[in-house]
């Protein structure tokens, strides 16, 4: 019994820590930190306005137990510009070869992670929590746990593997968890997809609403069924590999594009985190080959078939 449990525990550990090339983290850092800068000026810019509406602030749990400041106009701008500086610096410093730069990168990385958590709490602590930011908030707290890495560093690393796996699970849970909520809250498997929740949401939307689809309630119901089934089956992407996985990622992006066109909902903070499923470590060697930067020989070996690499690393 104990040995069975032990074996299962070790298997879970191996799965959760499957090594991933460090370069994947280096590229993911650039994507997620740059996205965060755009995010705090567009999607979650409400933090600045919230500073003027302190009467309506009702902090969530972390806002009450952690020393997260109440929203104020000055505090908002301080957090915003701290994030701009740290999000620009971290991906660069963490890709440098010099030790002192790397240590500076660890510091700016942790500052970015913690300040973004505080920023998001100030955004969400007004009696409504949206869930498209879960994976991004967690990713910014996970990335500093991985050692500094260059964009071409193909060394497989368990620290990188753990962070990537956690981001992947957060992405999947954003969909799967919301399907669970639909079942728990409506008290049945089929109540949600058969309801008129999308019409409801379209009719309530104000400015910038996309509303052509409201004339097609049947189409919207089909959409609800597809969404619900896709959400329930989403954990499968944690186990599929290679082309099938990339196809799944493309389908998810197409789905989000369609919901954006039909409903005006984009879910970009979650979409960007799907990058954690892709072999980003090949991006820079591939770009070098295409642009013919560096020696041809270098580039060819870096993107060549990698026969000796275990399948789970490819």
């Amino acid at each position: 019994m104990t040995s069975t449990l032990g074996r299962a525990g070790r298997a879970v550990g191996r799965w959760w820590l499957s090594p991933v090339a460090l370069a994947r983290i280096a590229v993911l850092r650039v994507a997620l930190y740059l996205f965060t800068i755009w995010d705090i000026f567009v999607l979650t810019h409400d933090v600045i306005g919230h500073g003027y509406s302190r009467e309506l602030y009702q902090p969530t749990l972390i806002g009450r137990i952690l020393p997260i400041p109440e929203p104020t106009p000055t505090g908002g701008y301080v957090m915003q510009w701290t994030l701009v500086v740290t999000c620009l610096a971290t991906p660069v410093l963490m890709a440098c070869a010099a030790r002192s730069f790397q240590w500076a990168g660890r510091v700016t990385g942790w500052v970015a992670g913690v300040v973004f958590l505080a920023w998001m709490e100030n955004s969400q602590g007004f009696a409504y929590v949206s869930h498209d930011h879960m994976a991004l908030v967690l990713a910014l707290l996970l990335l500093p746990t991985v050692p500094p890495a260059r964009f071409t560093d193909q060394t497989p690393s368990e620290a990188a593997g753990w962070a990537i796996r956690c981001i992947q699970i957060a992405v999947v849970m954003t969909y799967f968890g919301s399907a669970l909520q639909k079942i728990v809250r409506t008290g049945g498997l089929f109540a949600w997809p058969n309801s008129s929740v999308i019409v409801w949401s379209l009719m309530r939307r104000g400015r910038s609403a996309v509303s052509w689809s409201i004339d097609y309630p049947g189409l919207l119901k089909v959409g609800q069924w597809i969404l619900f089934i896709a959400e329930l089956t989403s954990p499968v992407v944690l186990w599929i590999r290679g082309r099938l996985l990339y196809l799944a990622v493309v389908l998810v992006c197409v789905f989000h594009l369609i919901t954006y066109i039909a409903l005006g909902i984009h879910f970009l903070p979650t979409v960007i985190c799907w990058l954690a499923f892709l072999p980003l470590e090949r991006l820079v060697p591939w770009a070098r080959r295409v642009l013919r930067i560096g020696s041809d020989d270098d580039a060819r070996t870096a993107v060549a078939d990698l026969p000796s690499v275990p399948a789970e690393l490819r």
Binding site: W16, L56, I62, W162, S178
Partner: protein, 167 residues
Amino acid sequence: MSLDDPRTVAPRRLGTTARTWRIAVAAAALVVLLVAQLVPTTFKNTNDWFPLGSLSQYAFATNPDGTVRSAFIIGTTADGHDVKVWLDQMGIGVGHAEIEGQLQRIVDDPELLAGVARAYAWRYPHRPPLATLTLKRSTKKLHDGRPTGDESVEVLAVYHVPAGGVQ
């Protein structure tokens, strides 16, 4: 062959401590997140556990033959012009759903709308200041999942901005 070639590089493993805390933290977070989805709302509103709280957006069923209610705020200037207050992150900051999430609180204490008036004055410094804010709610009817066009509007709360603006 470059040094970066995976064929020449052994995986970088973690020590026992590093492995243990990583698995423990991640497993604990996942358990919290799963529990947050499975706890009935009537028992505990786990939205409060952000960022590991409930993923409850749009997680309810609406009746195709029911009604759709939506709250909004109308501002009135000193010379009697009505303007709709734009409620979202690019407007005054406070969002539509955030007003609705604490509707009862505002109905009980309309003075809370001072926060909306203050944010409006910051966001639109060149527009005429608001003298009154009115929180309203519209109710539209549905039939077979389509809007019928029937609509009624009720006033939920009124706030008069003090002379000289909100402090």
